[in-house]
Amino acid sequence: MSEVTEFDAAFFHRWLTRAAAVVDREADRLTELDAAIGDADHGANLKRGFAAVTDVLGKEPPETPGAVLVVAGRQLISTVGGASGPLYGTLLRRTGKSLGEAPAVTLPELAAALTAGVAAVAQLGGAQVGDKTMLDALVPAAEALGESFAAARDAADRGALATVPLQARKGRASYLGERSIGHQDPGATSSALLIGALAEVADA
């Protein structure tokens, strides 16, 4: 009988540290994508936010997975600005709140919590899959996470790529109308990076 794997606070801390490194590395690409259909600040903003997250988590590491995500989400809201701050902040905060105070969580528990976090993002932004937003990566990722981390990563990547032919209906890109078609959504791309970082630390 195989043992059920559980993920503790240190795992989530590693995830966000990894995410910060990936965002730092990919910041210019995110900004380039944003320049095409937005206002060219997505990379710089997320980089600043995730740097602040690693900072605060490093100072006083929270003791539960839920607390790690809640603290990280609050930090993003306080530092990122733009739409990404409240949206990513809400994603982590609400996922964390859903995890409750358990000292460690299982993959199905995390998948359920992420689904709740993604739903909160959808509600806050008033968007849905197909609007060419971060949800195009996050919704399929949350669905696939019940299966495995790798499946979530692949689903997020596919979702981000699938935003290329879409016309944006939310956020600043929506002001371009049909001219937003043909560009990958920067928010969906950064979401895929975040899920990719999760799969990476789970593999390690």
Binding site: A35, A40, G82, A83, D131, K170, R172
Partner: protein
């Protein structure tokens, strides 16, 4: 890229330090990024708080002072400020009469101000909000985030600020702010893209001999691209776009706004054309303001904003104002 900056990371803080030095009549909190009128909170008066990304100067910090904003929250370049800034601003200007948030309709601004309103209300501050969405280049529909907030913001901040200065209660300040927004429409044109410090190159590619019609204020491309037009043709196009949406029955306030890199020589010339079109369309102009007020870094181009005035709006528009960028009557 040639910019008068040190490094992209500190442009906003550097600008705030310089603003503090130039304007001792303001309190500039560089660390927390809040610009306050020095005498805040003013007893018995509603505090007007606005904010948004930096790069639109003088909006919003340049509009802080008696008769206009009580506080402004500058975000990173083209990025909404964070709720912490707005809550701090609200707490600093609230005299117990409440605070009106003036929010431009961009998803980031809307979300951050919404979160801030919740947090400020938790601290016992009464908050009202007005959403500015005057840009006719973006049509509202079920599937979009709605029209953008651009030049109309200046009208809303000036008129509602004057009402607050007179001691009007929060509901009245909010109502007049909404009325000004409902009666304001804008249309913008770019002759060049702008360059954000973080990106270091133009945010979109605009070949020589072409212009973008229907741009916003964030260096995002506009509604369509055409071969370069004359000032006369642009004025016809822009004013008609505004009048298609706003059919004023009385005199209007007119703002002929530069996007940052268009000299006043051109803006005044453009204003002559705007006034001509308005006369031809039978729209009387009560007041005109020409200059760089709601800008987009180093973008060349202009926008036209019209607000259908009424007696009260005119009176409040003419009321004294004393801010770094707008100053008259006292």
């Amino acid at each position: 890229m040639r910019m008068l900056i040190n490094v992209p990371e500190t442009v906003v803080a550097d600008a705030l330090r310089g603003m503090a030095a130039a304007h001792p009549e303001l309190t500039v909190d560089v660390d927390n990024r809040v610009v306050l009128r020095r005498d805040a909170p003013v007893a018995g008066k509603v505090g007007l708080v606005s904010g948004g990304g930096s790069g639109h100067e003088p909006l919003h910090g340049g509009f802080v002072g008696p008769g206009m904003l009580a506080a402004a929250c500058p975000g990173e370049v083209f990025t909404s400020p964070v709720p912490d800034q707005m809550v701090r601003a609200a707490a600093a200007v609230d005299s117990g009469a409440g605070v009106l948030f003036v929010v431009k309709n961009y998803t980031g601004d809307v979300l951050n101000f919404e979160m801030a309103a919740e947090l400020a209300e938790d601290e016992g501050i009464q908050i009202a909000k007005v959403l500015v969405d005057d840009d006719v280049a973006v049509t509202d529909s079920l599937y979009t985030a709605g029209r953008r907030g651009t030049g109309g913001t200046l009208f809303v901040e000036k008129v509602a600020g004057a009402a607050a200065e007179e001691g009007a209660p929060l509901e009245r300040v909010e109502a007049i702010a909404r009325r000004v927004n409902e009666r304001s429409r804008s249309f913008g044109v770019a002759l060049s893209a702008c360059t954000t410090p973080a990106k270091g190159s133009p945010t979109f590619d605009l070949p020589a001999g072409e212009l973008e019609l229907g741009i916003g204020i964030h260096g995002e491309p506009g509604r369509e691209r055409r071969p370069m037009m004359t000032s006369r043709e642009i004025a016809d196009f822009a004013v008609d776009a505004v009048l298609d949406d706003l059919r004023p029955s009385g005199p209007v306030l007119a703002l002929v706004n530069g996007m940052g890199a268009t000299p006043l020589l051109e803006l005044y010339g453009f204003n002559a054309e705007v006034q001509r079109v308005l006369t031809e369309r039978g729209v009387p102009v009560a007041r005109t303001l020409v200059g760089n007020y709601v800008t987009s870094l180093d973008m060349a181009g202009c926008s036209v904003t019209l607000c259908e005035a009424d007696e009260e709006i005119l009176r409040l528009w003419d009321a004294p104002v004393q801010t770094p960028a707008l100053r008259w009557g006292r």
